[in-house]
Symmetry: D2
Subunit: 159 residues, 4 copies
């Protein structure tokens, strides 16, 4: 019988959270579809496309069913995109969903969660289903129409 | 027990079809989700938003599962939007999906299918499920993210 | 001595005017810079770019110094773009500047003014200086920044 | 006799220049029209509108006649917008014209050139004529059509 295996999403290794009092985890969000938006604050494609799209997702789907989480995955210009700069960026761009700072790693300057998810760059949008499994991985732009359908597929599938 | 009733979509009364050899009907499309885009060729909101969105739907979803159908529902400026003008419009705007000309009616100049569906104006986007039932009715603009989710909901629901 | 010759703009041959009680002519507009926007109502580039730009020009420059004139130069789909259809189009798209219907010609279906100006298609934007001379001829899109500069050059040059 | 007085532009007090080997000054640019784009790297209106417009100006007008100069006028989030962050920002956003870092001041955190020019915030676009005089001061957005005309007016006026 033909069946696809969906691996569990790797845990998030985050050194600091913004826009939330309690650190969100895969476990605490179990039961919701998660839209994970990995970005860098000085990445034009993230600022122009990825982050506005994540904000639209947040306003389109009910927060009881879909969680939007940002992940600041700095893999270049580390000195230019510190948490101090990120805080101002989130304020100026009115980004209101929780954003975690990916834990700096050792290899090639790639932060740890970025490495664990095999991300190739930013923006990357990851969809995680209600059971905490990886379902979609988009590097670069994905159209709203396709993304809306992908999120809904995860919402309406029977467990 | 709580249950929503979805009425059957009224049949299409069309005097002429473009972009197709065989007149599509609700019956011939049974088993597919139908996106019905009602428009007027001189309606700016249709030209700028509704018709480009319908074209994006057609390129995003497989034609074996989702059918995109245009309906020219002229309810004003009848002399300005004849089938002769429509043919040139469809050619110039590269609209490739089937488009039917709604049958002129008698009351208030409203064409018959427009009246049967209770449309308030153009653009109107109607979603019909695989069983031929009315599921969504949008007058004016609907965002791609929400529309993608609505189409996917109809695709992934269990009959 | 190096000097450029600017030929006089050919007269407009128009069978019908919209949005004006008095037929504008090159003579009646002498002393103003003229922005002549040649378009077809079913030309997507005209609807999306040319006509909105002409409307922006009209709102940016004082009407005492710059006149915006539309010219409906139908050279294809003649039956689809009659004056009856044009009237509805101008109404629906809220085009408020004077628009003339270029006089149908005999050769190749090209209307007469289009032929006299050597236009290659639509949209075409022509700039005529305060002395009635041809100064710019753009086929296709011209950026707002460049167009603003060209209009101003004609406004501020010393006769 | 009616005559407008155009005050001389205040000198630029800059602590560091990017994208240029030689520090540009009002004197060194005498004879050119100067478009001075004051911005902050974390100001959305600057990133979305002001800086792309400055880049368009640079590609529309000949560099022998029009100089485009950026000025990083940080008046908030000082720790988040250091020259280290600015360098990465200019690289990622492909900003190629000279950009000076406005000298930090003492009063209210306003940098010195920003204060001398009486700027109210960012983005601010200043036009300086070929004689080094202040001619336009725009806080917020200015449309391309109007800006193109203003630059051209300075180019074509007789000294």
């Amino acid at each position: 019988m033909n069946q696809t295996y969906h691996p569990p999403a790797p845990p998030w290794e985050v050194e600091q959270w913004f826009n939330t009092d309690q650190a969100p985890t895969l476990e605490s969000l179990r039961g919701k579809v998660i839209v994970l938006e990995a970005f860098q604050m000085l990445c034009p494609g993230c600022v122009m496309h990825g982050l506005p799209q994540a904000a639209r997702v947040r306003h389109t789907f009910p927060p009881s069913k879909v969680a939007v989480i940002g992940l600041h995955t700095v893999f270049e210009h580390h000195d230019a995109m510190t948490p101090v700069s990120l805080r101002a960026f989130l304020h100026e761009y009115r980004i209101a969903f929780p954003v975690g700072v990916d834990m700096p790693g050792s290899r090639d300057g790639l932060p740890r969660t970025m490495l664990a998810y095999g991300m190739q760059g930013t923006p990357t949008l990851i969809l995680i289903d209600a059971q905490g499994r990886l379902r979609q991985h988009h590097f670069g732009q994905v159209a709203d129409l396709a993304l809306g359908a992908e999120i809904a597929e995860l919402l309406y599938e029977q467990p």
